[in-house]
């Protein structure tokens, strides 16, 4: 067997008590395009960061040419012949192109040649990075990596949000690079790209590598199966659905052909009172913009949002809240007051509704807060500061504060990210309870399993467009395929609740 260019054995990474990577093994031959796949949270990005020297591994061994190495900085990895292009271009926006090249010690001539090979003209080294559009920045980043003539080129989601003509140029350069004996580690959510352009692929699941095979032979179904595993069969969890029929019920939240820049185009759907609708999408398909737009944190370019049949023109979250629209962001840090006590965190939206002048009536507030704490079974041992709560309890606070305030439209963005399984189920129950009390719930989740457990219906976003509307029990495979843009093979016309 030929000597491997790169061999990773038993790589693990732990952040405090959170395990991001358990046991990852990967080998890359010289001259191959190798794809790295996995669902959100499978450990892909952690692995890439270790490989490129951004972070250190907790355990495991990396070797290049069978020589054990350990990179303590991106500069070291680059010297060892591993150059990477990240999803967010590592270019400093206040500097010019030429200055950014000097930062990495990239030869100007090699960079110009790489750009030329990519078929890009009109390059001006004096141009400031801030004035260049994102797709071109990705190409610049790629050209910079290529100029170092790396032995291993790591491309982390480079084609996400890249127009097709530019993406084709990336594939051309991958082909040239491997033909010249170099290797590529390619990370993408777009399965069709991997099937077409990669010789082998390795699938990560739950921080481990679970399979390595030729993607063209395995095809889409084998990839999807490896990504999901048989986790669906492992735990039989009880799915809760709405028990009432939605026929003829007027929607509480209605979104009519909203669009925003390059992120969203022509998205329309409705959520009725008592209904939980899940938004299914891969990272960065426009779901952030959709939720922030409805919540008033960002503006849509066109289209409208109706609450209870009346248009909501929320230019500010406070206006949306006044209309009973509550938004729970994915990053709890955006929603909590970490240094303040639990009671204040829960009562925060409530303060808006108490008298504006004079002291806040503590009795009413604390009665409501106590009721919420009991109902959510929040662990109050660390009541004095919200930041000392566990992630699960923090998330209960961000959802629970809207229980104290009262609302009828709830937007949840990945509510169970990074939460243990027990608390997850409490949150599922909470979401269903809220819906049963008559609220309309729109929930984005990165865990497909949750769609069947909590939602009545799923809408799928792909590259900013709504590509499918599926029944919640359609199955993980169908959901994942739809989220990857394969809508023809698994087209379901399931609308409304299944009960």
């Amino acid at each position: 067997m030929a000597q491997e260019l790169l061999q990773a054995t038993g790589i693990a990474k732990q952040y405090g008590s959170v395990i991001a990577l358990r046991n990852a093994n990967l080998s890359i031959h010289p001259g191959e395009s190798h794809a790295l796949l996995g669902a959100n949270g499978a450990g892909k990005s952690t692995f890439v960061k270790i490989l490129t020297g951004v972070i250190n591994s907790s355990a495991g061994q990396l070797s290049v040419d069978s020589v054990a190495t350990c990179f303590s900085s991106p500069a070291q990895a680059r010297q060892a012949g591993i150059a990477s292009v990240f999803q967010d271009p590592a270019l400093v926006s206040d500097l010019t192109v030429a200055q950014n090249l000097r930062l990495t010690g990239t030869p100007r001539a090699g960079f110009a040649r790489a750009l030329d090979d990519l078929g890009i003209t009109g390059f001006d080294p004096g141009e400031q990075i801030a004035d260049i559009s994102l797709p071109f920045l990705r190409m610049f980043d790629l050209a910079r990596a290529l100029a170092h003539q790396p032995r291993l080129l790591v491309l982390d989601e480079i084609t996400a949000a890249l127009p097709t003509d530019l993406a084709d140029r990336v594939f051309d350069s991958m082909r040239r690079h491997t033909a010249a004996g170099g290797s590529v580690l390619f990370i993408s959510h777009r399965l069709e790209e991997i099937i077409e352009h990669c010789g082998r692929c390795t699938v990560f699941r739950d921080g481990r590598d679970v399979a390595t095979f030729v993607p063209r032979e395995g095809g889409e179904s084998r990839i999807v199966q490896s990504m999901l595993g048989d986790s669906a069969g492992l735990v039989r969890e009880e799915a809760r659905r709405s028990s009432v029929s939605f026929d003829g019920v007027k929607p509480q939240l209605e979104v009519r052909s909203v669009a925003a820049g390059e992120q969203l185009a022509d998205v329309s759907f409705a959520v009725r009172p008592g209904e939980v609708v899940a938004v299914v999408a891969l990272e960065g398909q426009g779901q952030d913009t959709l939720f922030e737009g409805i919540a008033g944190a960002q503006k849509f370019d066109s289209g409208e949002v109706l609450i209870g049949g009346n248009p909501l023109s929320a230019s500010h979250p406070a206006k949306a809240i006044a209309r009973g629209v509550a938004f729970v962001p994915s990053d709890r840090a955006h929603a909590l007051l970490p240094q303040r006590p639990i009671s204040e965190n829960l009562a925060l939206p409530l303060f808006r509704r108490t008298r504006t002048w004079g002291p806040i009536p503590q009795k009413t507030v604390s009665a409501k807060v106590t009721r919420t704490v009991e109902r959510l079974s929040i662990d109050t041992r660390a009541a004095s500061q919200a930041r000392r709560l566990s992630g699960g309890n923090q998330q209960k606070l961000t959802i629970g504060r809207w229980l104290t305030a009262g609302f009828d439209t709830l937007l949840l963005f990945d509510p169970t990210r990074g939460i243990d399984i027990g608390t997850k189920h409490q949150i599922y129950d909470l979401i269903r309870d809220i819906a049963d009390e008559g609220a309309a719930v729109l929930m984005y989740t990165s865990e497909l399993r949750e769609v069947n457990l909590v939602a009545d219906r799923a809408v799928v976003l792909y590259r900013g467009r709504m590509v499918a509307e599926l029944a919640a029990d359609v199955g993980d495979e169908a959901l994942l395929s739809a989220a990857h843009g394969f809508t023809n093979t698994h087209s379901h016309s399931g609308k409304g609740a299944t009960s």
Binding site: V54, S73, P74, A75, R78, F86, D88, P89, A90, L91, V92, S93, D94, L95, Q99, N100, R102, L103, T104, G105, G119, I120, T121, G122, F123, D124, G126, E127, Q128, D131, I132, S133, F136, D165, L166, R169
Partner: protein, 327 residues
């Protein structure tokens, strides 16, 4: 072939990159002309007062600007300037010219060393620089009293005109400023170190991913800041002919240095601007008290005028930003 989206026209680029600097220079020239028209004969003496009088502040503005560009802040520049002033004045008393030149080098080195130490502490400990440098400023201010308990000390009379010019000679002050800018700052700015300084101030994670050693770059920035503070201290000694350990001088100088940085076009969030802008801004701020005196206003109101100018200029900058984003 795909052509990159039409770039920004050269003129627009020049305006964006150097427009602010040009504006500050124009402001300085206009104020200088007004000042010149206030006195019957404005010649070497008047110019010397303007340049030599604001020289220390100009160096202090440079020392603050470079730290702000790297995304930090140095609360100790004022105290460190007073300390260097006292150190030089106490050592230079009754010394010959060559000895005083040697002591000047010692003063610069001491300032660089102390500033580097602050930078090292803040990067290694992870304590925010505003806390470390503020705490250090109290210690340094106290140390100044240990070195020179009462106003006094001295300097070789021959060294004074070399650094800040004789009674009516503005040339040495201008030469010294230009020498430091052209000999230290401009080569530094164009070097990889300089680019790394801008990079960590603009986007620390992108800089790290590009292979910049963020820790060393920050410490280096503090070292350079200390060098500029050292110049401010030495120049103060030469201008006043002695040392003055009062802590209030340091505090006032610190606040003015931040004002000069903002007025000079360095974003307080880091990553943009240069040192020439803050130098001219310091000269502008130094011109305001004599101007008000000339207008027959109470020069004690100079602070009010400085504040008003600062707010107006920053508001104007904000408007420009909004316009740029809208286009």
């Amino acid at each position: 072939m795909i052509a990159i989206n039409p770039g920004v026209p050269t003129l627009t680029r020049l305006r964006r990159r150097h427009g602010w600097l040009a504006g500050v220079i124009v402001l300085f020239v206009v104020l200088l002309i007004i000042r010149a028209s206030q006195v019957p004969t404005f010649g070497g003496f008047g110019l010397r007062t303007v340049f030599a009088g604001s020289l220390a502040l100009a160096f202090l503005a440079m020392s603050q600007a470079i730290v702000v560009i790297s995304g930090g802040i140095n609360m100790a520049v004022g105290a460190l300037m007073v300390f260097t002033n006292c150190l030089c004045a106490s050592l230079m008393k009754d010394q010959s010219l060559p000895a005083c030149i040697g002591i000047t080098v010692v003063g610069l080195l001491a300032s660089v060393l102390i500033s580097t130490l602050m930078g090292w502490i803040t990067t290694v400990s992870g304590v925010p620089d505003i806390v470390v440098t503020l705490a250090a400023s109290f210690i340094i201010a106290g140390a100044a009293f240990l070195v020179l308990p009462t106003p006094g000390g001295g300097i070789a009379p021959d060294l004074q005109p070399l650094l800040v010019g004789g009674f009516s000679n503005p040339v040495p002050a201008i030469i010294l400023l230009t020498l430091v800018l052209a000999g230290i700052w401009w080569p530094f700015k164009r070097s990889r170190w300089g680019i790394a300084t801008y990079a960590i101030g603009s986007n620390r994670s992108a800089a790290y991913l590009s292979g910049v050693n963020v820790r060393i770059t920050r410490i280096r920035t503090y070292a350079l800041s200390g060098l500029f503070v050292g110049f401010a201290g030495v120049v103060t000694t030469a201008f006043t002919g002695g040392g003055e350990p009062r802590a209030a001088i340091g505090s006032a100088a610190l606040l003015t240095s931040v004002a000069a940085v903002v007025l000079g076009g360095v974003a307080i969030s880091g990553g943009t601007g240069g040192l020439v802008g803050p130098v001219f801004a310091a000269l502008v701020l130094g011109l305001i008290p004599p101007l008000m005196l000339g207008l027959g206003w109470d020069p004690n109101l100079a602070q009010v005028a400085s504040g008003v100018i600062l707010i107006l200029v920053v508001l104007f900058g904000g408007l420009l930003q909004i316009r740029r984003r809208a286009s």
